[in-house]
Symmetry: C2
Amino acid sequence: MPRKALYDLQAVLTQAIDVLLEHGYHGAIMDEIIARTDFNRRGFYLEFGSKQQFLYQVLDHYLHTQLDPIVGLLEQNQGLVSVHDFFDAYVRHVRGRGCLLINMITEMGFDDEAVRDRGRHYLDRLQIAFIGCLEKAQRHQQVRADINLESTALQLTSYVQGFAVNAVLAGDTDELSLATRALLGPLATE
Amino acid sequence: MPRKALYDLQAVLTQAIDVLLEHGYHGAIMDEIIARTDFNRRGFYLEFGSKQQFLYQVLDHYLHTQLDPIVGLLEQNQGLVSVHDFFDAYVRHVRGRGCLLINMITEMGFDDEAVRDRGRHYLDRLQIAFIGCLEKAQRHQQVRADINLESTALQLTSYVQGFAVNAVLAGDTDELSLATRALLGPLATE
DNA sequence: TTTCACTGAGAACATATGTTCTCTCCAAGC
DNA sequence: GCTTGGAGAGAACATATGTTCTCAGTGAAA
């Protein structure tokens, strides 16, 4: 029997996230991807077939292991508390590195439908989760009754993307945490 | 005497914006840049020296001709009216194509200090302009007295970046206009 | 211990791509 | 009209980069 592969696919995908975050898709060259993952060229093409397919798998791995748990906080659907929890976790996550999904959307959204689809799906999910939390918060008089739920949710969704961009430029994210409070404050009941 | 150059530098830079918006920096190859601008290879390297220097000039041209006029609306400093004017113009601007500066920041912000600097400068300018408008609005009782100006301004700044990302995914931007109203509504005095 | 299917490392390859060079042609001055 | 310095188009070049191939080495099974 042959020896079995030494690399751990999950670990490789996780390591690749950093390379793609730093240099983008086209800027991340195979040599660096190979060098910075517990991987080798042969295994790479046996496993993924191409750099593009590799991207999709990294992206899905990223969504599943890193974004899902954070969005999951929002889907706890505990009203304003969930919204706060979500933003806290998200700010911590994008701190100093941004969001891989957002980066891929802005870099290749025009050319790559698969990336665009994942982006739309993610934004839809955020939007729906925000609406759920805001509904519950409104029922419990945590937020003003006169706000439009859908618009406010879309606003929060935009805000999340803005964080991802700012995080690339801002070393620390303390000010982003402050901004979160400013965002949610005016929504609250007096 | 030789004949003089036929190309119009300003026009070339403007045409290049679209190419870079569509494919990003690394994704935009010289062949397409040459083909889609009133330009030729020789003139290109005589004028810019390299693709990277070219990017900086396109970026500055973009900032000067497209973003400046929009941020200028905010710097009119007419309180909430200016904020509304700004968002209207910005939403129209990013509609279906996004923002070149934001795209460059997310694609190469980690590697390119010059891009990062331009991004920071732009965000600072937005932040200051928002603060100015909010101050004035507060003095005129257009917005609640209990909001923190800096945090709210930072929140609006983040929101702007979020627009740029959403615009890549969302074909139409009507819903973004709606969200803006929802954003500014809760800030207003009762 | 021997076998051998498969791994890992990197050489090799083909193509893509940023950059430079060549050559023809034009238009302003004589 | 002739000259000529620079423009325009694209061939040519060198390198970068995604992909494939080769081959020695390894570890489980017999």
